[in-house]
Symmetry: C2
Subunit: 250 residues, 2 copies
């Protein structure tokens, strides 16, 4: 009997030109390109499982995925082959052999996302495509003071869009461990870390935080938004092009 | 009589999608878009003079240009208008009123260019479009030791392509003041500073330096390449997408 082994991929990609991680009817998905490259390199069908999907236009610097194969090959050579087969805006950073009990999605213990806000009126043409350029006047003290209001183990239903996956609704309880505001040239970076995120949760949390910083939602109303369990009560989602999946923890 | 005033623009642009700074028959030039935006904002024809051209695909973080106008306007508002009129990959960073004797090209005393080399086999998808990915094995000690061979006040004819401007040949004497090698994540940045650069001179100098680091040109041959005053003796030009005009000094 041939022994199958499990491998973990760590990936970085510029999501600008893709329909997202997961296979979609419209547009090209990152998962499908990585899977095809593996199939070309290993010469057999591959079932590639990601840590979760990223939406159209969202980027990654540390997306993870796993696959099984009984093929034997030197890992450094497979790494080079995959990167030669993939377009330059998708890169495999690492391949590691992992235990057969490892699962990119189910054994993940947490994820970190970054969201980039550009606040200066004049922007750098090289970072602008990866930032949300906010022209409104924001009260940054309110923004900084409001982030702790979202932390903790909570029902995040008000900050989750319905997924179009046809599956039954998921458990909406998540633990947001970190929601930090970090200054960077031209603006701010929001760093969010949780045990997991519901569909569009990062973009809805950032959008709601911006409404607080614009004075349109009072910090005292955040509790009521959580309690309502109603997506319509929270702020609008911010656009995808400024969002980066930075790390998946196991 | 209406008093004309002279203004200096400082510009940053991603040259990926343009045919270069100067108006060309094929493709859209950066100069033409900036000039049109000025004409829209100021409502009269504008003659925009750049510090010099950048080739198709070359980027800038500190290109300069000047124009004259008798229109009166608040500079901060014009800055915002121009950036609203321009595509996001071209940004006006500053507008300053300058003396009528200022000339973007003729009063410039020097320029600084950066050239980015990616040397690791695995590249970051976000910086890769702005680096030259060198797959050959380079001897970095040779590269570092060779840069001083190009410094000084020299006849750079061997490192200049013929310009297709129909004008008479220029003085080929330039003073290369700095040719530094700076480590950065994934590779190296070459920093070149001179009183001026001949056509494609930066890309030809970097291409020749790479031939030294590949062992194809001996450091001792650099003097003979200068003396030959023959473009064919030097190394091939490196591609434009890794070149940035960083600063024009006055």
């Amino acid at each position: 009997m041939i022994q199958k082994k499990r491998y973990k991929l760590t990936l970085s990609y510029d999501g600008t030109h893709y329909s997202g991680w997961q296979v979609q009817s419209n547009g090209i998905s990152i998962q499908s390109l990585v899977q095809k490259s593996l199939e070309t390199a290993l010469r057999h069908p591959i079932d590639l499982t990601g840590s979760g999907r990223t939406d159209a236009g969202v980027h990654a610097r540390g997306q993870t995925a796993h696959f099984d194969t009984s093929a034997s090959f030197p890992l450094p050579r497979l790494l080079l082959s995959l990167n030669a087969l993939l377009p330059p805006d998708i890169r495999v950073l690492r391949i590691d052999e992992v235990s057969p009990t490892f699962h990119a999605r189910y054994t993940a213990t947490g994820k970190t996302y970054h969201y980039h806000l550009h606040l200066d009126r004049i922007a750098d043409p090289f970072t602008l495509p990866y930032c949300f350029h906010v022209y409104d006047r924001l009260t940054l003290e309110d923004l900084r003071r409001a982030t702790p209001l979202f932390l903790g183990t909570r029902d995040f239903t008000s900050f989750a869009n319905e997924a179009h996956r046809g599956s039954a609704s998921h458990d909406p309880i998540r633990t947001l461990r970190r929601f930090d505001v970090v200054e960077q040239p031209g603006g701010l970076r929001l760093e969010l870390e949780a045990d997991g995120f519901l569909y569009k949760m990062v973009r809805n949390l950032v959008g709601t935080l911006l409404e607080v910083a614009r004075g349109k939602i009072a910090p005292a109303d955040v509790e009521a938004i959580f309690a309502a369990r109603d997506r319509r009560r929270a702020g609008p989602a911010v656009p995808p092009h400024a969002l980066f999946l930075m790390q998946v923890n196991y």
